[in-house]
Amino acid sequence: MTRFLYYPGCSMDASARAYADSLEAIGGPLGLELDEIEDWNCCGATEYQGISPTRAYALVSRNLALAEKQKNGSRTVVAPCSACYLNLAKTEHYLREDKGLAAKINTALEAGGLHYTPGSIEVRHLLDVVFFDIGIETIHGLVTRPLGGLKVAPYLGCLVTRPDYDHRWRSNEHPREFDRLLRTLGAEVVDFPLRTDCCGGHMTQISPATGFELIRRLIHAADQAGAEMLVTLCPMCQMNIDAYQAEMNRYFKTSYHMPILFFTQLIGLAFGFPPEKLGIGTEIVSARQALAKIGIAVPVTEAQEPVGAGAAGPPRRPRAKRTGLPMPAMPGEDGEAPR
């Protein structure tokens, strides 16, 4: 058993529930024991720093202080979300480096009856722990259903390997550890040079055209490389590429159908867990077709049906089609199967 403190982050309980479910499933076989930090608060994502840096660091430090108080034999906090991970790691790193900031933050924490000793907590991303602590040999030994050459594009996104304060990864821009993990599961890793490019972050909310272009680049590159799906380790990346893919397709008049799953879901499949235990089927761009190719059937539940229509989204109302403004037709409309 490897015991860690655990900072789930807000999306694990909402949009990234599949990540949480699959992590819970594989936690047992992997020997991961994760103790949630009690009463943790939001990390501020990429928003709070732009309002007030001092408040943003104080916000994150409350979590570090709670973790320090709760130390359970491990001083390592594991975060599955890239943004949460970086906010915690960055704050810890800055408090260690900048005594002035540490004093200021501790003055603020005192107002809430807390204190944090810089350096007392180590912050790591879930992939880091899975790859370096548990290791691919252990994982290889647990694979009972190899993924049969499922073609995947390994997508790490930005914040796990950049800025990488503790120099854990081989490269900030072209790390290969994730590829090795996915190969261990029996997947075929396609050549995907955009593996650490940006998913757009909050751009889908504040400058949609910018966001859609960043999403398009990733999906286009994965498609060109012959990938059947993207595999990620970040709720934000998953959300952008999955939930906004239909809107991106409309914007660019494209018809991509590129599912994106969490790496924990693929580990779970390779360990032989049934798809429904791993939150598979909760993605908006369905992975059913891709998984069917390797002989994994995803059961259809009623809740999933209305939105399983893929890249072009659900069929439009016929009235809109007859009387609407002249619009270019898109593949996937008229009930034909999307690519």
């Binding site: 009463d39 994502a45 840096p53 603020a108 800025p163 751009m203 209305p306």
Partner: protein, 194 residues
């Protein structure tokens, strides 16, 4: 405290550059910029910025306070840290962008209301619940700024709800919310003192 400005920078310029530096924890090395442009060349959203990061650093140095704080550049930063790891002068560029955003927010000099408004709504949810509330955030944001996107977004929203990926109810408020607020109030006072 920030180091004294390099000799070739006039007093007026130094005031703004030092002001920006003071908004950023740790030494941002902002004044070390050699104008090579690696940041803008690495930036995924540079094409949509009023000025590339390199230009903004030159403008900060030149003391173009208003232009810098009204520019959309920091708001278009996606925090991908490509510039940060590639900068030959090791300037903490995302931190500079965060600092500029915070200054613009404080002074009401924001370029348009969408990006700052998103940040403010996000932060208000943290103050209210201690956690982020995705549905509340997105619903409010779309109603205010993207009414025309709503019809196209509806299927996705329904999908997220049906698949249990979004709850309509806000998150359970954390137990220590009042303490968290006290911490943030104290932090705000400390930032204002600086």
């Amino acid at each position: 405290m920030p180091a004294a400005a390099p000799a070739h920078v006039t007093a007026r310029d130094a005031t703004f550059q030092n002001e920006v530096r003071a908004m950023i924890p740790r030494d941002s090395r902002l004044e070390m910029c050699v104008q090579c442009g690696t940041c803008g060349g690495s930036c995924p959203s540079a094409a949509d910025m009023d000025h590339t990061p390199r230009m903004v650093f030159a403008m900060v140095r030149a003391g173009l306070r208003d232009e810098v704080l009204r520019s959309n550049t920091p708001w278009m930063c996606v925090s991908c840290y490509f510039c940060a790891v590639r900068c030959p002068q090791e300037i903490h560029i995302p931190d500079v962008m965060y600092g500029l955003k915070a200054m613009a927010t404080r002074e009401g000099l924001v370029p348009d209301s969408v990006a700052p408004d998103f940040s403010k709504t996000f932060v208000n949810n943290i103050h209210r619940y201690g956690r982020s509330f995705e549905v509340g955030l997105i619903a409010r944001h779309y109603l205010r700024h993207y009414l025309t996107r709503l019809p196209g977004m509806a299927p996705m929203g329904i999908g997220m709800l049906a698949k249990g990926r979004m709850g309509l109810r806000p998150p359970k408020t954390i137990k220590g919310r009042d303490d968290l607020r006290k911490i943030l109030v104290r932090a705000a006072e400390l930032e204002a003192e600086a």
